[in-house]
Symmetry: C2
């Protein structure tokens, strides 16, 4: 272990990052800036070429940051045999759900299968993907054991969940405290040496399973609180109360309350997905995760609620949704990002289209509707002007980017169905949904 720690300390170590996406790229930046060498791995030739060209694949990361680490020696490759060059291998691949809402660890398994033949004594492997408690010990470990290596003796096995928050201007990879769990105490020590080189604050935990549970708790907490406030929205609206006014007043309590806001559903690659990893694993212990399932159900119902409110609002004006011209305002999964993964806006657009509406969208962060596996819209973002706005029968406010001109929208829209509390509802021209 002294050797591993020394190589981190004197910056002679090379760190492999497997998976160059929303987690791997910011991590590569932080590690490279610390003076360690970084070798990136991805299965996409296109992604590798883009990085070598000094072009950032992520909107909130400027090109010059990619150029800077490339100039400092950052390389990227699709050749996983080069993992043998690395002292540490950090796995940052997606952990989605399959269509039965069950964990899909195929990216982790494929990555481990790719590097397994090249694993060697003295290396460290760290998993950063969100996953069920036990994945590191039950899924990762066999690849290492089969390679004849033993974590804690001649190898280090670590779990350290990513906590990236795209668009967060206050915290970044380096300043967000990082959970580190080791398969053994020596694995933990090696993991702390690695992450301590480029992360300000480490939070060691007693096992990889604990680390896995920590990350799930964080995202379950969000999913359930969003589910709760979505349910409260339905009740408040039935009672004629404005849930956004209620939340803004409640959050003046200086203890014991944290504001969460309702919306058209939940999106992104974490909140709608991660909690069900625990649901799946809990069944092995004969347990049900009732809060997770209730939150999932209520959050998943929200696009339908938005549709219902749009139908109701149009109906009050004597219009059917069929052939109505509807503008979806904001289609990224949250404010300030260009990420479309699991965006509930798209589900609302699908429903509007199914009902025969003529659907357009406007989102300055998404100039052209991207190719998506499960959705197909041949659309480009509509420029917002008084004329374009007035031409729509209704505007459905879905993602409240800060750069929309809300005053202009307010003045020119015929009808507003607002899921974000940006406009004062009057029950005639401006509706909550």
């Amino acid at each position: 272990m002294t050797n591993f720690i020394d190589r981190i300390a004197d910056r002679s170590a090379k760190i492999g990052i497997l998976g160059l996406g929303y987690v791997g790229i910011p991590l590569a930046l932080s590690i490279s800036r610390s003076g360690l060498k970084v070798l990136g791995f991805d299965i996409s030739d296109e992604r590798i070429a883009q990085l070598h060209a000094g072009s950032s694949p992520i909107r909130h990361i400027p090109n010059d940051e990619i150029v800077a680490i490339r100039n400092a020696g950052f390389e990227a490759t699709t050749d996983f045999s080069r993992s043998a060059e690395c002292d540490a291998l950090i796995i940052c691949v997606p952990t989605p759900l399959n269509k039965f809402k069950q964990p899909d660890l195929s990216f982790i398994e494929a990555t481990m299968a790719s590097i397994a033949p090249h694993l060697r004594s003295g290396q460290l492997v760290s998993l950063e993907s969100t996953t069920w408690p036990g994945t590191t010990a039950e899924v990762m470990l066999p690849y290492i054991s089969d390679a004849g290596l033993t974590p804690g003796e001649d190898f280090y096995l670590v779990y350290s969940p990513e906590r990236e928050d795209p668009g967060n201007e206050r915290y970044n990879t380096q300043t967000i405290p990082k959970i580190v769990g080791g398969h053994t105490s020596d694995c933990l020590a090696a993991g702390k040496a690695l992450y301590g080189a480029f992360i300000d604050t480490l939070v060691p935990v007693s096992s990889t399973q604990t680390g896995e549970m920590v990350k799930l708790l964080e995202n379950i907490h969000r999913s359930v609180n969003i589910g709760l406030i979505n349910e409260m929205k339905l009740i408040a609206e039935a009672m004629g109360l404005d849930i956004f006014e209620v939340i803004d007043a409640a959050k003046t309590k200086p203890f014991g309350f944290t504001a969460y806001y309702p919306g058209p559903g939940v999106g992104g690659h974490c909140i709608p997905i991660d909690p069900f990893y625990l649901t799946w694993k809990a069944r092995e212990f004969g347990l049900h995760t009732r809060f997770i399932e209730l939150a999932g159900e209520i959050n998943a119902r929200m696009p339908q609620y938005v549709l219902d409110r749009a139908i109701e609002a149009l109906n009050q004006h004597g219009k059917a949704l069929r052939d109505a011209k509807i503008l979806a305002l904001g289609i990224a999964y949250k404010s300030g990002v260009d990420d479309m993964r699991e965006s509930p806006s798209v589900l609302v657009m699908e429903l509007l289209r199914e009902w025969g509406a003529e659907v357009s969208y406007s989102d300055p962060h998404v100039p052209v509707f991207p190719p998506m596996r499960e959705h197909d819209f041949d659309l480009s973002s509509v420029d917002l002007t008084p004329q374009t706005l007035a031409a729509f029968d209704a505007i459905v406010v879905l993602t409240d980017h800060a750069d929309f001109d809300y005053e202009m929208i307010m003045q020119n829209a015929q009808l507003i169905i607002d899921t974000r509390g940006r406009f004062p509802p009057d029950g005639e021209r401006i509706w909550r949904a």
Copy 2:
């Protein structure tokens, strides 16, 4: 209205407080300190005599504060006809549930019935009790209308929920921002004049219904988050993980996560009760409050879980619960208070006794087990010494007062079943529950 506002401003107004308990007493202190005269009302002769004797009925309020306001002119009475002397009447009575978990507004109704014959033009009535949205307009208003008065014309009707947090050393009645809703805009203006005289920050809302919903949201948020973490505890323990370690690691995330802690259930006069006020009212709108009901169910199950763990821990040591000597550590409903209302510790004690255990308790804040409507224990608090601790087969840690000597308990207890994460579990002598 000018007259009402002037009388508040020049401190010639007299404020009646109806209900001299955990809410009314701190309110009387704040109002009296602002220079306004205070007349307290309660149905208990004993409570009135106690206050006139300068004795505080609430442990965390010292006698000298009662003496100080008495010297400044504070009086208390059981004669509700004296409400006619008051410019404003603030109602601080309990809003419990009946045994079918339905709202019991009998204290509000009885109070209104007592003062109704004496209501007069120019007065303000404010309700501070937590209750379902619509109570002020649907339950309070008829008493005022029947008296021939019209809120907004010759009378002011206000809802302003209490946000007391007994034991909170950082915030008090004066410094906790206060929600104020009026039945009309003039009612709101009068309410702001009244509360502005002794509260630092007011939060006006658009209606009394909104104010009622705000208070419910605050407590529903807590109930659901405690329910969630209790469910997560069950899952973590089944997986062999320590939920307290998981929470402490998760809360190092500097955004998007707020720590809540599991326990033996939920207690106090708010969290187990208030949410069901919304459940009841929501049915009128054909809606179910699924998160509230799930949280209520899981939280209510916790005492049984603690019992099960105690049985399991004793069993591992070859002992039955029957005839075992068990010490319940902490019986107030939360740390640092003497309040026993709805304390889950008492439910655990009941279960232990039903199973034949010989139950004792230790709580420095509750020297003698108080008379309770639904519970009967003829017990006094056991002094904790190495000898007394060692004499018990097991200690069940229920309320983690700061003034327990945890080190001494750790060293001398035969077996510890810990619901508060105060001791490091070893699965032999120290158990989580």
